[in-house]
Symmetry: C2
Subunit: 340 residues, 2 copies
DNA sequence: TTGAAAGCGATACCAC
DNA sequence: GTGGTATCGCTTTCAA
């Protein structure tokens, strides 16, 4: 391979000092327009691409940001969030010369260690904190490490910059949709309560119902998984007084729930309306297609990246609220059965 | 944040020169056991973590490898391969101090540019070449750039190190399974023909049939997508002489195919047996559950990472064949309909 | 075996 | 407006 083109080559080629080349290429003042053009031409001609290695040592930035996916790699397969989220991050950072370092961490215990190593080795300039838990241990960790971080879907009191997408309007619209169809018996299939967004979704469901004078029905944990949805269906459909409208905290558990309800001989939505949350593509492939609330992982990723790069540059940040998730009515919800 | 601990601190603490510290910490010879231990103790005590920045500048390695996902971020959501693949990569490189840089590239035209920039900026030490195409333009690109690379699922003549998983045994077992059930009319729903693995799977199907004296039936392109599977079903089921056994090049198109077949009033597997390829988790959630061929993205990722790091270190590599993908019989395949 | 010093490729400061 | 030069944190000769 040909010898790499360095800043020295550009300097020699254009007959100036490397400091001028650096200034010119980075658009800093202190270079005459004439020399700037000369330098730009030389750089172009030589095909100069600044070495990230050199830049990071000198500039004390690595030009990369980290995302630790704290789950089994297998689960990543089924999680609809990451694809869009990563895409959103990329579309912002890429133009700014940053790259995304992705790590996966099987066990929860190892996560903090991952963050610590990322920070200690100064491998990344900042990290995303997704799937926040209540009293998330990562928060004090990054604070101690002085590692810039942005939270995703945090509660209001969150001490770091964060990006949110309101659950309320979507769930409100869903509840309204179902009440208009005559439903009065609502159940909720939640996510693991340690997750902030599990609680937020359940709370939105609860408040939306009580605001309409409806008493919230049973809540069971669906664990955000297909299997959890199956278990939830077993639990909720065994009782004589079963709900007619079931809202699940994510699409995957809604899929499991519907499959199991059908297995028990219930027609969806004839006997039972079921809705999910997320808006995964598969929802439109199911039978019945899934009524859900469409989130915006791509946009969340984009805004989170923007905040993180601001935080890295030491600029003040303003939390972002992306437009609320919206109701998508498909065919898993319908009129309340008259026999009920 | 406290001042970063550098190699100088460790040297000062243990009363030796930084060069000795470097040697000791990297397990190189030329340090007495006594000083080595002294240095190790000091490093431990100070909590020294070498700066990747410094190491990479001096050592001319970045300690990171790149994966460019050349697709819409949306598609990443539905692709079952990447989760396991990335997990496999991680589990190898992580212990060796490497990190994975993930890039997404929406358009095919931009891909080469991404690789070029990764290489030019020396942001990564090597890259994975996945979803290889026939006459893939990335191959000459990385060769020109002198960028170490490992191909995934390449054909035999591939000029770079590569990891393969044989399609033949799995498809062979699937064909045997179906012939034992009495099927003689086989169709194939392929992937886009530009992909090497599309061709490999079709070829395996074709050869497996002819080896049994069965004439391969129609082949249509399912594009590896759900929608493609729908279109394929429309195409294949319109004819009077329709196949009774349909093998799809991936699970997603099999899902679309089955849904559309059902939509047309066919019972699967009563009227029609359908099988997929990949072994995605969702396959076991469908109705009927999906007979498929289980691939090993995790293992492929692991081996690919191993090869790539060898290549980066300039060591000779030997191509790897991970154990062949295996048939998983579920409920979308059954006896040939007697009326046919 | 140990230590001093020269890079690696940029940035940034400071004379000129 | 310029061009030296110290500097970042480490690896790697090369003397001592």
């Amino acid at each position: 391979m040909a010898h790499r083109v360095t800043i020295n080559d550009v300097a020699a080629r254009s007959g100036v000092a490397i400091s001028s080349v650096s200034s010119a290429l980075n658009g800093r003042p202190g270079v005459s327009e004439a020399t700037r053009e000369k330098i730009l031409a030389a750089a172009e001609e030589l095909g100069f691409v600044p070495s990230v290695r050199g830049r990071s040592l000198a500039g004390k930035k690595t030009f990369s940001v980290g995302l630790v996916v704290h789950r089994d790699p297998d689960v990543l397969e089924l999680d609809p969030f990451f694809g869009g989220f990563i895409g959103g991050i990329e579309s912002y950072i890429d133009e700014r010369g940053f790259a995304l370092v992705l790590q996966t961490s099987p066990g929860a215990s190892e996560i903090l260690e991952r963050y610590r190593r990322l920070a200690a080795g100064r491998r990344v300039d900042g990290v995303f904190l997704n799937e926040l838990e209540v009293d998330d241990a990562r928060v004090p960790t990054v604070q101690d490490l002085g590692l810039p971080a942005v939270g995703i879907g945090a509660d209001d009191a969150f001490p770091l910059p964060s990006v949110r997408q309101d659950h309320r309007p979507g769930i409100d619209a869903l509840v309204e949709h179902l009440t208009e169809l005559g439903h009065t018996h609502f159940a909720f299939v939640g996510g693991p309560p340690r997750f902030v967004h599990s609680r937020q979704r359940e709370l939105a469901w609860r408040e939306s119902l009580t605001a309409r004078g409806i008493t919230p029905g049973p809540v069971v944990d669906g664990g955000f998984t297909y299997e959890g949805g199956i278990a939830a269906a077993n639990a909720l459909l065994a009782n004589r007084t079963r709900p007619t409208a079931v809202i699940c905290a994510n699409d995957l558990s809604a899929m499991g729930f519907i499959a199991q309800a059908q297995h028990h001989g219930f027609d969806v939505p004839g006997d039972l309306s079921v809705a999910g949350y997320d808006g995964i593509q598969l929802g439109s492939y199911l039978r019945p297609t899934l009524t859900t609330i469409q989130t915006s992982p791509n946009q969340i990723g984009f805004e989170a990246a923007r905040l993180l790069l601001q935080a890295i540059d030491g600029e003040p940040t303003v939390d972002v609220n992306v437009p609320a998730a919206e109701l998508v009515i498909r065919h898993s919800t319908g009129p309340v059965p008259s026999s009920n």
